[in-house]
Subunit: 515 residues, 2 copies
Amino acid sequence: MEEEEEAEMNNQQEESQRKNAILIDGVVLNGPAADSKSGEKFVEEVSKIIMEEVVKKASDATEKVCEWQSPEKLRTLLDLELKDTGENHPKLLQLCQDVIQFSVKTYHPRFFNQLYAGIDYYSLAARFITEALNPSVYTYEISPVFLLVEEAVLKKMIEYIGWEGGDGIFNPGGSVSNMYAMNLARYKYFPDIKEKGLSGIPQLVLFTSEECHYSVKKAASFLGIGTQNVYFVKSDDRGKMIPEELEKQVQLARNEGSAPFFVSATAGTTVLGAFDPLNEIADICEKHNLWLHVDASWGGSALLSRRHRKLLRGIHRATSVAWNPHKMLMAGIQCCALLVKDSSDLLKRCYSANASYLFQQDKFYDISYDTGDKSIQCSRRADAFKFWMTWKALGTTGLEERVNRALALVRYLVDEIKKREGFQLLLEPEYANVCFWYIPPGLRKMEKGHEFWEKLSSVAPIIKERMMKKGSMMLGYQPHRGKVNFFRQVIINPQVIREDMDFLLDEIDSLGKDL
Amino acid sequence: MEEEEEAEMNNQQEESQRKNAILIDGVVLNGPAADSKSGEKFVEEVSKIIMEEVVKKASDATEKVCEWQSPEKLRTLLDLELKDTGENHPKLLQLCQDVIQFSVKTYHPRFFNQLYAGIDYYSLAARFITEALNPSVYTYEISPVFLLVEEAVLKKMIEYIGWEGGDGIFNPGGSVSNMYAMNLARYKYFPDIKEKGLSGIPQLVLFTSEECHYSVKKAASFLGIGTQNVYFVKSDDRGKMIPEELEKQVQLARNEGSAPFFVSATAGTTVLGAFDPLNEIADICEKHNLWLHVDASWGGSALLSRRHRKLLRGIHRATSVAWNPHKMLMAGIQCCALLVKDSSDLLKRCYSANASYLFQQDKFYDISYDTGDKSIQCSRRADAFKFWMTWKALGTTGLEERVNRALALVRYLVDEIKKREGFQLLLEPEYANVCFWYIPPGLRKMEKGHEFWEKLSSVAPIIKERMMKKGSMMLGYQPHRGKVNFFRQVIINPQVIREDMDFLLDEIDSLGKDL
């Protein structure tokens, strides 16, 4: 009966639409174009697939980490081509299944390949909300909640850095954070740069360690400074910048007539996980009036652990800090903050363009909440929200436990590596990067000369290929500063258990013992 | 019975874990730290809230577009503070509800405030998948599917631009696309710039119209060129760059001894929706050997409409194009491509840093698929995927219909504005921006002198405040190039119907007739 009534109403509506139909530019304008019911159903069905195929399998180590296919093969397995006509829902749902099937499961307990891993259920839920609401964070008018959330998160991060105040902005990546800082520093020393550019300014040079992230070079190039004006300071055996060498380089640059302005120290280097000695570097920066930026994209999260925050001793003396909660704290790609100690609106003065269509001056609320003009972007994602949700859910102590647990697992793995024949640590890790060689039985008796290292260098790539094709786990390898290919194992995910560490070593041995 | 067995098994597991418990650095390492079942349930519950409160309400015009609260008040309504201890699930679910409640509904059929709007169910489903899989698109090893998808989408976009080949990269925003292009251009003319920076290079100058997006200025500043080296070319009454004026400015710069290198034309300006005459501009660029970048962030989507692609006539002659499918094509913030005509790997040569930990040269697959080194970012989101999904679902014809429908609604609205007393168009729109004044009854008889314009300038802000507080709709206003505050209405969402256009005008009249 009800259904009949509804059908009747629909008929009447359609009838009335036909009567009022207007044809404009060849388009019939009656009723909405999109069938919202069918769209809603599609979203619901895909959500179910995601729950079953991703969320509920995320903690299951017996699943494959990846189902490897070569690019050529994968191209034939997926129907990638975009056509004139659309596909029906069953076909689209199958495509969604395929996309999931052939994607790498970065949330898998045995995914150790990058500086991010795991699934954080709270952050994920927040990300679903953000995607559904589709905000852009530039004005309070459009993003009231997300602007206040960003403010709250930045405030708390600043507190953990140890500054009394400051400012900051979430942006798309640690690389971009480093660019922000570099540009901010040169603007502070040479405010004319914003309008006049680099011409007429002495040759700017900046300093970072040999172990820094490659984005420092990219930033120098992008900002017009040039990569050859990045002075790479020697690091010690553990990967830490040597302060005396920094001082020497600064003197050298001064003697050459250049203008040193910026030091990018690293707290948690990409390969070795090393922490530069921030206090000593800060002394030099103060002495020479240099901007001290700390790229703590990877290591910053240790600040939340009372046990491990000593790794970043001296960070409160930094002028700016890059910190990516999407790495150790699992906020989801991307969640990256640039934080600055300055409280005099330096960010806004440096970056503002005062677009009148967006940042109207005659709004009816306090426009100091319109923080979009601090950004090099126009549209900007609400990245702070996902981290906020996790922090709300776990509290600082919950985040601290994650860091402590990951680093305790590192200790366990390191002890196992030391016990086992054929495994050799590169160095005692300070953080969550465990770097080691696997020496297959055939090489164990060899003298450690040229031939040995040459043969060893081919071991990690072969084992990597085998593990990818098997799908049992994923970890990275690389050559690094004269050292031949070694594995870099990164521990983040709280779903990782001791047994996964044992498995990892067993599996490497099993995949490589014939080499 | 089954439950009992399960409980018994769990007991045994716990017992065995206790036996094997290892205490390292104060952390007990038995079993995973996170309770995955409870996390999965949380994700499920939030997904339900999203379906009910967002997705199923998205097409309902009777809902409020926003529930306005002042920053001060909203702060007290939301529990923003991050604390030492976490919150329980009921509290977190309430927070999720609150976040949705107080956020602006950018998908609402009466949200006309920005250059994006609406909900695309296919893109949304794809975004949920991306968030769940949490990929980072730099190497094929980590993102096999998403790299191939990006390749397929770029290829198709290049086809619609009309190039025979080319390259491109998705990145976080049109502003960033414009930066990419500007840096690429200077690298092409002065390849030494990557290493040596701007010193020793003649003063670079670039050209864009007065109506360009503010990001061109931001880019010039960020890249070290300086905003005063951006030459703003006069536009005509419709907001289009005047080619003769461009030619004059280029000559002027040459006479001043500067080095013109780059023209940023705009296809779809931010405020007026104007399209620069690309063919005439291309002639000048060819003559003077300048890089022609077209910022089609907003207007690019018209390329998919056979009826409207003439707006971009000549775009195939561009050297690079910025095009944001997250605007007219509703792919979700953000989905932005920079496309370049070059097929000689210019992007890679300009941006590569060859990080050995990520882009190993001894991988077991064709490393030309590792496109991450084309980017200024390291981690990068899989933004192409959401657009790919929509394109798959609707086909090119479906996307074309969306564009055609939006622009047909514009025609309808324009006709209504012309018919109604008290409404005055600024200009005939070419695209989806409808710019108009509302003149309240009290001003209609006034002479159009200084006092009239001064009074009129306060009308839009007051109406805007009233509509926000009522929550009935959202559209923007701004002063622009000597014109006092006028409304800018943007039509995108296929859920918008003619009746919403009528409502919009009625509502403005109703909110402003006492002014």
